[in-house]
């Protein structure tokens, strides 16, 4: 398969190239080149040594660099995630984990949980089994007639025979049943306490004379 086909013109040109005269190096040139080569061999250029060394050991250098980068990354990553935790092989029940949240200490003393437009009072004492809500003709401004401290409730039965306790606003009962109890429980009581039902009407009920029959 080494045979090749050439045209006669190509063949003539090939023969011409094969018979082309060659110049020969002068003996002095041969010796000069040899001397120059051996000088370079005896004193190899220093700048050339570094790239040669790097190119020869490039895979090793790259491998070491990658290993160092991975180790540094692992060290940094592990330091950020769990600075004080020590991993154990199995969970231990005798260790209580306390999570501290940085920030100022706040003591929660109130029993009120504010929500928009509504304030709910939570009793500190056990809640009554049943709470009787005010069902009389009083306005919403008077409700609730319940004492969260004593966990008791009063309701207006529509007569004057059932006077409200002092803590109950019962403004309707008080308007209807006379001024006896005003001295003990003025309508302005609401103003000071506020029933916190959103209808705080300080002393307003007193001058309205509603239902004063």
């Amino acid at each position: 398969m080494n045979g090749e086909q050439f045209t006669s013109e190509e063949q003539a040109l090939i023969e011409r190239l094969q018979n082309a005269p060659h110049a020969h190096l002068r003996p002095a040139a041969v010796d000069g080149i040899r001397r120059r080569m051996l000088e370079a061999f005896d004193t190899p250029p220093v700048p050339g040594s570094a790239p040669n060394w790097i190119s020869a050991h490039l895979p090793i250098v790259v491998g070491i660099l990658i290993a160092v980068i991975v180790l540094v990354a692992m060290w940094i990553f592990s330091g950020q995630v769990s600075p004080g935790l020590v991993e154990t092989a199995t969970p231990r029940s005798d260790i209580i984990m306390i999570t501290e949240t940085p920030g100022p200490e706040v003591t929660i003393e109130t029993t009120e949980t504010p929500t928009p437009e509504v304030t709910t009072e939570i009793a500190e004492t056990p809640a009554p089994e049943a709470t009787e809500m005010f069902a009389g003709e009083d306005t919403l401004a008077d409700t609730p007639n319940a004492n969260s401290v004593t966990a008791s409730a009063w309701y207006d039965d529509g007569t004057c025979n059932n006077p409200p306790p002092e803590w109950a606003p019962a403004s309707g009962w008080r308007r209807r049943c006379g001024s006896d109890s005003q001295g003990t429980n003025p309508g302005g009581n609401n103003a000071g306490q506020g029933n916190n039902n959103g209808n705080n009407n300080p002393g307003g009920n007193r001058g309205q004379g509603k239902g004063n029959s």
Partner: protein, 227 residues
């Protein structure tokens, strides 16, 4: 159409095209050089010794390759003086690169030709052209036939001038494949191309050279007053 075989005979002995490049020893003063590159059977051993700092091995490798490398360079530059300088640079590169040279089965010459091609390209990039004298100090042939010497010198100048009008690849291919009579496989290794590419390229290179020589020949004939 004629058939050209990659097998060839020199000194009456047929060589295997995969191993030998040919052989033409010439006398040059007191020195005897190979005009065509021929790898030595003990080349691998010599390379190993040279890598260990054996100057004698380096000298042996130098003598084996200096003339073929010079021949290759001399056809690609305008003067033999430049060719000498570039040849020296090639062998300086050889000794500085030997410690990291890895023998992969190809002759050392393949590496040296690549260095030479690189140095020639650098030379043309640097624009350090030297005006060539028509007759150089280097001998083209023996001195016993002055007319023959002049004729050979003219022929060499014509080929050199025509070759230098071609592309780098064409120049290298024609010099290595036909002047240095290397097999396709070896040329392909040196030029970093496939054998098939070399086979195709050689036809185009020959056509380009014929065209360049035709122009050159006509101008010469015109200058001599012929036709």
């Amino acid at each position: 159409m004629v058939t050209f075989s990659s097998d060839w005979r020199f000194n009456g002995q047929k060589r295997n095209s995969d191993v030998w490049y040919g052989e033409r020893d010439v006398n040059c003063g007191q020195l005897r050089h190979n005009t065509i590159m021929q790898p030595r059977p003990d080349e691998y051993q010599l390379i190993q010794q040279a890598q260990q700092g054996d100057k004698e091995a380096i000298g042996t490798l130098y003598e084996a390759y200096v003339q073929p490398i010079f021949n290759y360079i001399s056809y690609r530059v305008e003067s033999d003086q430049v060719a000498e300088d570039l040849t020296a640079e090639v062998f300086v590169r050889m000794v500085t690169g030997l410690p990291t040279y890895q023998y992969i089965g190809a002759p050392l010459g393949a590496w040296l030709y690549r260095i030479a091609a690189s140095r020639i390209a650098d030379y043309y990039r640097s624009k350090k052209h030297v005006i060539e004298g028509e007759l150089s100090e280097n001998q083209v042939s023996d001195d016993t036939d002055p007319f023959g010497t002049i004729a050979k010198h003219e022929e060499r100048a014509r080929l050199r001038e025509a070759l230098r009008t071609l592309s780098e690849d064409y120049q290298t291919l024609l010099i290595l494949r036909f002047m240095h009579q290397m097999p396709h496989a070896q040329v392909a290794k040196i030029m970093h191309k496939s054998e098939a590419a070399i086979r195709v390229m050689q036809h185009r290179a020959l056509q380009a050279l014929a065209k360049a020589l035709g122009k050159h020949g006509k101008s010469r004939s015109y200058l001599r007053g012929e036709e």
